[in-house]
């Protein structure tokens, strides 16, 4: 196909190339799969941490798919040459999907809770492994206890390396508000990690 003679270079490191994006936007199934495969782990991990402990595995996977369905519906309007990276755009959609899901669960107090996500991992092993697991569990609990907006800010910044500007756009908040929520979230995590010592 002649369109493929255009150099298929990603505009930003780690991002999918623009020709594949254009093909996905036109409904090409192979390109759609490539886009999903390229980004879904990142989106899944974000949603997992956003929803823990209220998100059973099936829910997180459903919401991962919902995120991409929304993205595909809007993909023809996405400007590859614009300011937003595809990964940031997807994480923005995922953030809204997660916040909506948390609001929805709040309206349904009998929503199932997957305790697997907050239980301290069992088993024994070398000291370092036990400490690593304990730290992970403390982080999981501390992050889950953050307010939803603060959790989103922290995850986008610390786990997904989004800039403060990108986070502000994703959450439709002033950058100053993002900074203050980030500071509070970090302080909460540092406080929680004192348990380790």
């Amino acid at each position: 196909m002649l369109a493929m003679t255009v150099a298929a270079q990603p505009r930003t490191e780690g991002e999918l190339d623009e020709v594949t994006l254009a093909r996905a936007a036109r409904g090409d199934q192979a390109a759609a799969r490539a886009l999903f495969v390229h980004y879904h782990r990142q989106v899944h991990a974000f949603l997992w941490r956003m929803l823990a402990p209220h998100g059973p595995r099936a829910t997180v996977e459903d919401l991962t798919q919902d995120t991409f369905l929304r993205a595909f519906a809007a993909l023809p309007r996405f400007q590859p040459g614009g300011a937003a990276r595809v990964s940031s755009w997807l994480l923005t959609i995922a953030t809204r999907v997660a916040l909506n899901e948390l609001r929805r669960q709040k309206r349904k107090p009998d929503a199932q809770v997957d305790v697997e996500l907050i239980a301290l991992p069992g088993g024994s092993g070398p000291h370092e492994e036990a400490e690593r697991r304990a730290t992970g569990a403390i982080l999981a609990r501390a992050i889950a206890e953050l307010p939803a907006d603060g959790r989103a800010v922290l995850l986008l910044r610390e786990y997904h390396d989004r800039s403060l500007d990108e986070i502000a756009r994703a959450l439709e908040l002033p950058v100053g508000t993002v900074q203050s929520r980030l500071a509070r979230a970090r302080a909460a995590l540092r406080e929680a990690l004192k348990e380790l010592s």
Binding site: M1, V19, A22, A31, H44, V97, R104, G136, L164
Partner: protein
């Protein structure tokens, strides 16, 4: 902006998450393919025909000299091109057009759907070449590559490197540095399915615009706007049911500038007095917030999102888009059968609940208006409302 207070990444990495299931991509692709796809060719043909009718008789009756610019609007914009056709430009599209008998459109960015009338030359110039048409329905998308999709008629796509002729159902891509070529990769069906949502919105708008243009009976099974369900015989309703077709009229509570025009035109057509007009407006004010509120509940049920920033037409479109095609087919089949007099148990899918609500909303509005101005006058007004003629694929025999 600096941020020097980062947490220790090695520490953060200790909060691990499980990998998604290995078959998640397969399941997603299957779900992506399950998006509603209802007779795209029929709908597109109907849309092209309706666009032509509206362009010629409703909005702009005569050809005239025209020129203008469109610079990256935030929303979809419908343009009249000097009587030579209609352009529906998606958000972000950039156009400059000039019509003096012949028409030339410079499209430098974005996605634009065109319906062109016969007349002089009509050229859409893109960064990757010129698209020349003579009475047709097509779409031009300008991105990294330029993609032209033809729904009706024939177009030539040409640049310095070559030329291709496209017929209905074909599409081609071109770049600044490569010759236009038929696109063999994704196939027309996939492209048409993708276009379907946009076409549906345009179709609904055009159906509304043409809804008051006459009540001439049309053959059941055609794609033209039908008569109102309340005017049909039992046999006609049964025929519609057998085709899973569910034409219904749109109450004047949908809330848009277009709807305002339809309401005004309808009251004029029904020769309403000042008192009758006041009754209509009062009723709209009373009913509209409740109508929109109900739509938002359906939207929240199916998307989990708050749709309060969306206009009612977009909410309806989203409800329909987010519903699995199997549920849509079942809902159409059930409601069409129910309207034909067959006993049907109500289901609990969002699309079925929405369709019941939409049809009930029209009946409720007419009934309330009848209480104020009399049944005959209320019915006369209802005959001016827009019609939506939706249909599902009846061929899925595995569904009830």
């Amino acid at each position: 902006m600096s941020d020097d207070d980062r947490l220790d990444p090695q520490l953060l990495a200790r909060y691990e998450v499980p990998a998604p299931a290995p078959d998640l991509a397969d399941r997603f692709i299957a779900r992506l393919g399950d998006r509603p796809r209802r007779r795209p060719w029929v709908l597109i043909a109907a849309t092209c025909a309706l666009a032509a009718a509206v362009a010629l008789f409703v909005l702009w009756p005569a050809q005239r000299a025209s020129s203008g610019d469109l610079a990256a609007q935030a929303q979809r914009t419908t343009l009249e091109l000097g009587g030579r056709g209609v352009a529906v430009a998606e958000a972000g599209a950039r156009l400059h057009w000039q019509v003096k008998g012949d028409a030339r459109v410079d499209q430098s960015a974005g996605d634009v759907f065109y319906r062109v009338e016969h007349g002089g030359a009509f050229v859409v110039a893109t960064p990757a070449g010129d698209v020349t048409v003579t009475g047709t329905c097509f779409r031009v998308e300008v991105a990294l590559v330029v993609t032209v999709t033809v729904y009706e008629g024939t177009v030539d796509v040409a640049n310095a490197h070559g030329r291709v002729t496209l017929h209905a159902g074909e599409h081609a891509t071109a770049t600044r540095d490569t010759a236009p070529a038929h696109d063999q990769v994704s196939g027309v069906e996939a492209r048409l399915a993708e276009d379907h949502a946009r076409i549906t919105a345009l179709e609904a708008k055009l159906a509304q615009l043409s809804g008051g243009s006459g009540e001439t009976p049309t053959a059941i099974g055609s794609v033209q706007p039908t008569r109102r369900a309340f005017d049909m015989t039992q046999a006609e309703l049964a025929k519609l049911a057998s085709e899973c077709r569910l034409p219904f009229d749109v109450p004047p509570t949908a809330g848009s500038s277009l709807m305002d025009k339809i309401i005004e035109d309808g009251m004029k057509q029904a020769d309403f007095s000042d008192a009758e007009r006041a009754a209509v407006r009062r009723l709209i004010r009373e009913v509209q917030p409740l109508y929109v509120n109900e739509l938002l509940k359906f939207y929240a049920d199916i998307t989990g999102a708050d749709g309060s920033e969306l206009d009612p037409a977009t909410i309806v479109l989203e409800i329909e888009q987010k519903s699995p095609s199997s549920e849509i087919a079942i809902a159409y089949r059930k409601l069409a059968a129910e309207r034909a007099g067959q006993p049907i148990a109500a289901g609990d899918t969002v699309i079925e609940k929405y369709l019941r609500f939409a049809m009930r909303a029209s009946d409720d509005f007419e009934r309330k208006l009848a209480a104020e101005i009399g049944p005959a006058r209320a019915r006369a007004f209802r005959r001016t409302w827009g019609l939506v003629d939706w249909a599902a694929d009846c061929s899925q025999k595995d569904h009830p």
